[in-house]
């Protein structure tokens, strides 16, 4: 039984950890495949210093100056409302390390280069598009892609076409996003000046890969959860290994007494732990694979919804994943058994017949833990005061959680002592006193429970807070009744005038957009018209008094919170927006929340947008219509405008879509949360089970003095429920601290926006109930075993020497 809990504990710990790692690895492999289209990982790129485009002439000039570079144009196209990354490559110059070279196996260069060309896609993308090879899907911008060809070296979600086709589809003739240098190219950045002035810079490999960078925080979150679950699992392992060693102390002593060398015993014990760790680790890896496979759809949906990153649907397992997973299992098992092994090392040859001095031990333990707890909290405080960045945020959380967990037994002892003092009956007094004694054996499991519960409270608070904020924000942001995209600028003009004759439409508001990069970060610049819709409903986090007037007059811009935080911009600061021709300096007159957007955003007057960005996308609009008229208007638009209309959607569907993306983002978190709680339940169960033999010696005298087994069983459950309840109550404030850290530190660092902090007391009730349920479920089997213990087994306690 003890062996079983050991294996289960280690397997579960490994499972969650390796599951999360498998997910991360899957996603990273996808990103790498996406990034490797241009060449080997780590290849240098030449990009525009202003963050915009590299003129094609510059490419030619560099080639003619001997630079071994290959042109790339990247962009996003939407097909059926789903975003895909379109990459235009030039196969004759692309680096030989690029899988593009191998892409055309079976296809030919001529077919790729010559109209209509080819679109190379992963089989996943083919399935996602619901298309077959040779099909030519139309983008929402009404371009037909070159015929699709399956190429498995291409990452999912990528459309790889010839550079010429890409310029046409993305509407960027003569423009490139980057020039990827061949590994053999040895030119220095300084040489660029002679060719292209100061318009270019060399981008280091680590700067590239927006996807990896944008999704980093997401993966860090996953990793943190995996690690938390792993640690919780180790609690189980520690407890059961400890007991296993305890049970064998007598045997070990005998072996030592008959002359077995210490090193041999230790070697055998370590070997045993290693073997167990490998077996349990392997089981865990299999379970981890299943967990990852189960969560993968949600993870990829989150990543694609949030970042437009596509992650392949088939879980691919690498040897490295196996090694790291087993390594973790092994390291964890050895760590968890270190204390026990040390005990064996120090084992005195002759047993000292000393009864278990639990109080002394507990005192010492509490003192030790208290010191560690204070240390952890100090580290958290230091990280909070002086730390910077996401890692510091997680350090604060880790310190607080660990410190609180270590303090938990102290808190429990205090509460139990209070209970003991208040108790009047003998049994009641014993109940409290005995619970206190039992604490030593359960404290690790209870700490695990505390961590799981506070993670639940914390993440629950954050997610609920996010949901509340997000839906409220969606209501404000999606303030128009209808949104549509025209197929072209001409169509847009036509539709605009056509809508003038539709009496139910009260306003036609352009939502034109240009894309730029500010300090390397992708930023969307939106142009809107001054209208009561915005003045009345567009919520601002902070603004100057005349913000809307200044936006209307072109003398000011509203920027998203992310952008403001990232660039350190305050009201009145001037933001420099790179445009195709120069740089547009405009004062910041307000900030607005832009939850969940990994890109920065700027809102300006539409006329000024088009003045600075001649190629701004002028095809998106929102419509205000008379109340209740939206469905009829949409119907008429679809019937009469036909292909001129690329897309039309009503407010409700748009909201539903946004909410769906949101829900899936947190589905993963929710699942991991639940799994962590289950692991802590198993930890509790394992501890109780391993303790149940010890418990017999505590309970037998009480039974002998005239308390029925049934009554004792009830009390045992009661004790655990009390402990769980106290733990849950303590978990609430801890969870709130955690939530605050997530909202105020991690979120800001990871996503660039801060959520308002809400508390949700109903959640606490749920947490309390789940804590009690967890404890009850964990206790029920050990207690039933206790209740069924035959009297003669109870009496063995009195007869046998231990």
């Amino acid at each position: 039984m003890n062996l079983a809990t050991l294996v289960v504990g280690l397997a579960v710990a490994t499972a969650l950890w390796s599951g999360v790692q498998a997910l991360n690895q899957q996603a990273r492999t996808s990103y790498d495949r996406a990034a490797a289209v241009f060449g080997e990982a780590g290849a240098r790129s030449i990009v525009s210093a202003s963050g915009l485009f590299v003129p094609q002439e510059t490419y030619v000039a560099l080639r003619r100056a001997g630079w071994k570079v290959s042109p790339v144009l990247e962009g996003t196209v939407r097909i059926g409302g789903v975003s895909y990354r379109l990459i235009g490559v030039e196969p004759l110059t692309v680096s030989k390390g690029s899988p593009v070279a191998g892409l055309a196996t079976g296809a030919d260069l001529e077919g790729f280069l010559q109209a209509p060309g080819r679109t190379l896609v992963a089989s996943e993308t083919l399935a996602e598009l619901g298309a077959v090879e040779g099909a030519r899907p139309r983008t929402d911008g009404a371009h037909s892609l070159p015929p699709l060809v399956k190429a498995d070296a291409v990452a999912p979600g990528l459309l790889v076409v010839d550079i010429g086709a890409a310029q046409e589809i993305l509407g960027r003739p003569g423009q490139l996003t980057r020039l990827v240098a061949d590994a053999a190219d040895r030119h220095e950045e300084a040489h660029l000046v002679g060719i292209a002035g100061r318009t270019l810079r060399i981008e280091k490999a680590e700067e590239a890969g927006d996807l990896a960078r944008l999704t980093d925080s997401f993966h860090l979150n996953l990793t943190a959860f995996g690690l938390l679950a792993f640690i919780v699992g180790l609690f189980i392992v520690h407890a059961s290994i400890g007991l296993a060693f305890e049970q064998r102390l007598a045997t070990l002593r005998t072996l030592r007494a008959v002359g077995a060398p210490l090193w041999l015993l230790l070697a055998v014990l370590v070997g045993e732990v290693v073997l167990l760790a490998l077996v349990a680790g392997a089981l865990g890896m299999i379970a981890g694979y299943l967990i990852a496979a189960a969560l993968l759809p949600d993870v990829s949906a989150s990543l694609s919804g949030l970042y437009g990153a596509h992650v392949g649907g088939h879980l691919v397992i690498e040897a490295r994943w196996w090694l790291s997973g087993l390594g973790m299992a092994l390291a964890g098992a050895l760590l968890a058994s270190a204390m026990s092994l040390f005990k064996v090392y120090r084992l005195p040859l002759l047993a000292v017949a000393k009864p278990l001095a639990w109080r002394e031990a507990q005192h010492a333990q509490l003192l030790r833990q208290g010191v560690f707890a204070v240390l952890c909290l100090l580290i958290a405080l230091a990280a909070f005061l002086w730390g910077r960045g996401l890692v510091a945020g997680f350090a604060v959380i880790a310190g607080v959680l660990l410190g609180a967990a270590l303090l938990l037994p102290l808190g429990l002892v205090a509460v139990l002592r209070l209970g003991e003092r208040q108790a009047s009956g003998a049994l009641a007094q014993w109940f409290w006193a005995d619970t206190r004694q039992q604490l030593s054996g359960l404290s690790l499991a209870l700490m695990a429970l505390l961590l799981a519960l506070s993670a639940n409270v914390g993440v629950g608070t954050m997610v609920e807070g996010f949901r509340k904020t997000f839906t409220g924000w969606l209501d404000e942001r999606l303030n128009s009744e209808i949104y549509f995209d025209a197929s072209s600028i001409e169509d847009a003009r036509f539709i605009e005038s056509w809508l003038g004759g539709e009496p139910r439409v009260t306003a036609v508001l352009p939502v034109w957009k240009a894309e730029t990069r500010i300090k390397g970060w992708p930023v969307d610049v939106y142009g809107t018209r001054d209208h009561a819709t915005y003045r009345g409903h567009f919520s601002l986090l902070g603004h100057t008094d005349d913000a809307w007037d200044r936006v209307r007059d072109g003398g000011g811009a509203l920027i998203s919170e992310q952008l403001a935080r990232r660039m350190g911009l305050a009201l009145g600061s001037v933001i420099s927006i790179p445009t195709p021709d120069s740089v547009w300096d405009i004062p910041v007159v307000g900030f607005y929340p832009d939850y969940g957007n990994p890109k920065g955003q700027v809102r300006v007057n539409v006329d000024h947008l088009t003045r600075h960005f001649r190629d701004a996308r002028r095809t998106s609009y929102s419509l205000r219509v008379a109340p209740g008229a939206a469905p009829a208007v949409i119907q008429r638009m679809q019937a009469e405008l036909g292909a001129k209309l690329a897309r039309v959607v009503d407010q409700a569907s748009l909201k539903a879509m946004s909410t769906r993306i949101f829900e899936r983002t947190f589905a993963v978190t929710g699942a991991l949360n639940t799994l962590t709680l289950i692991v802590s339940g198993i930890a509790l169960f394992a501890s109780l089970l391993t303790l149940s033999d010890l418990r017999l010696t505590q309970l037998a005298p009480v039974w002998a003095l005239g308390v029925t087994r049934r009554r004792l069983a009830d009390l045992e459950i009661g004790k655990l429920l009390v402990l769980a309840a106290i733990t849950a109550v303590l978990a609430v404030p801890l969870g709130l601290v955690l939530a605050w850290c997530l909202v105020a530190i991690v979120n800001v660092q990871a996503f660039g926006w801060r959520l308002p902090f809400h508390v949700f007391p109903m959640q606490w009730v749920v947490i309390l109930i789940s804590a009690l349920a967890t404890a009850f479920l964990a206790a029920i089997i050990p207690v039933i075993r206790l209740q069924r213990t035959a009297p003669q087994d109870l009496m063995k306690v009195f007869a046998n020497e231990r």
Partner: protein
């Protein structure tokens, strides 16, 4: 020189992508129909400077320069500079990336001990590679073959030839007072009994001086260079598998070009021309030419005849050629052997040999 490069160029299509398109139709599908491209017809007179530049209506074309050089100590060197053009489809050239033209450059420097080469590819339509007739300028990336005459001159009397690889480079001044030598029937060069042909002229009289860099050493060199210019739309017969090609600088200033196209069934199509020191070209009869492989050597995993017995009976020429460096292997997308040779026998001198299809 010649048809050799046709294969190389066509091979880009398939081999640049790691696909061996072996099988029927000669190398790399050379048997493809030329429909839609301009035809090579006899009797058309070449005109200069127009024909120094590119002929995009034709499927394939090249600018091919080889030079036999010596340094101050008398050490021999060879230099190769080649620019190939291929049109992927017929019709007027389209603009920008849509252009159907694809360009490829090969460059090499060979000494007795070293052989360095480089290869580069470019799309037409964007200016990365091209060839203009007047003033003459052929280029790809930073490699160029450019007229250095005054703007109103219209010949190749004075040019600069440059190329650069990872571990070599050269910059050579090429000068000549000769007009181009038309090969075959006034520039119409047949390549098989069945009528495949190309437009072909040469400039074998370049005097060279300049520097080359090899293994970090800068070396002043002088010598002579030979340029071949050829364009066509379907030059090889379907059953022709490879060729051996000689361009030889004879004593007294005469020049000799010889080639044989090897058929699948072991027969040959041989042709050649004798260009006198006065610039006059005489076409050699196929039966007048004998090319016999002598020594064989394993180079890059293939067995190659690196020494030849060359006989032109009517001219009393009987020589044996030996490579300056037997390892003159061009491990490019389509690999071949190309290197300087020296010969002795009835005549002694230097030249270039190209062998493909082995």
């Amino acid at each position: 020189m010649s048809v050799r490069a046709i294969v190389v160029l066509f091979a880009i299509t398939a081999l640049a992508w790691g696909v061996e398109r072996a099988g029927a139709g000669g190398f790399a599908g050379l048997g493809d129909s030329a429909s839609g491209f301009a035809d090579v017809v006899p009797g058309k007179s070449l005109s200069f400077p127009e024909d120094f530049g590119a002929h995009p209506d034709y499927r394939i074309e090249w600018w091919y320069v080889t030079a036999n050089l010596k340094d101050a100590d008398g050490n021999a060197y060879g230099v190769q500079w080649t620019l190939f053009r291929q049109a992927l489809s017929p019709g007027p050239e389209r603009e920008g990336w849509a252009s159907q033209q694809v360009w490829m450059g090969h460059a090499a420097v060979t000494s007795a001990k070293e052989h360095r080469f480089a290869e580069t590819l470019a799309r037409g339509g964007i200016g990365q590679a091209g060839a203009k007739a007047h003033p003459f300028h052929a280029w790809i990336d930073d490699w160029s073959f450019v007229s250095t005459e005054s703007a109103n001159a219209s010949g190749l009397g004075s040019t600069l030839l440059t190329a650069k690889g990872a571990d070599f480079s050269y910059s050579l001044a090429l000068k000549t007072g000769y007009a181009p030598a038309l090969q075959g029937d006034n520039g119409y060069s047949r390549k098989s009994e069945r009528g495949q042909a190309s437009y072909y002229y040469s400039q074998p009289f370049f005097e060279v001086s300049g520097t080359l860099t090899l293994s970090g050493r800068s070396i002043a060199v002088t010598g002579q260079a030979w340029m071949d210019r050829e364009w066509s739309s379907q030059p090889l017969a379907a059953d022709q598998k490879g060729w051996d090609w000689f361009s030889l600088h004879l004593p007294g200033g005469d020049k000799l070009m010889l080639f044989q196209l090897r058929g699948a069934d072991g027969d040959f199509y041989r042709a050649g021309s004798w260009i006198g020191a006065d610039g006059r070209t005489s076409v050699l009869d196929a039966a007048d030419i004998a090319l016999t492989p002598l020594a064989q050597k394993d180079v890059a995993g293939r067995r190659l005849p690196i020494s030849w017995k060359v006989v032109v009976k009517s001219r009393g020429l009987s020589i044996e050629t030996k490579p300056l460096n037997a390892e003159s292997w061009m491990a490019t997308i389509f690999p071949y052997w190309e290197g300087p040779v020296r010969f002795s026998g009835s005549h002694a001198g230097v030249g270039y040999l190209e062998m493909t299809g082995y």
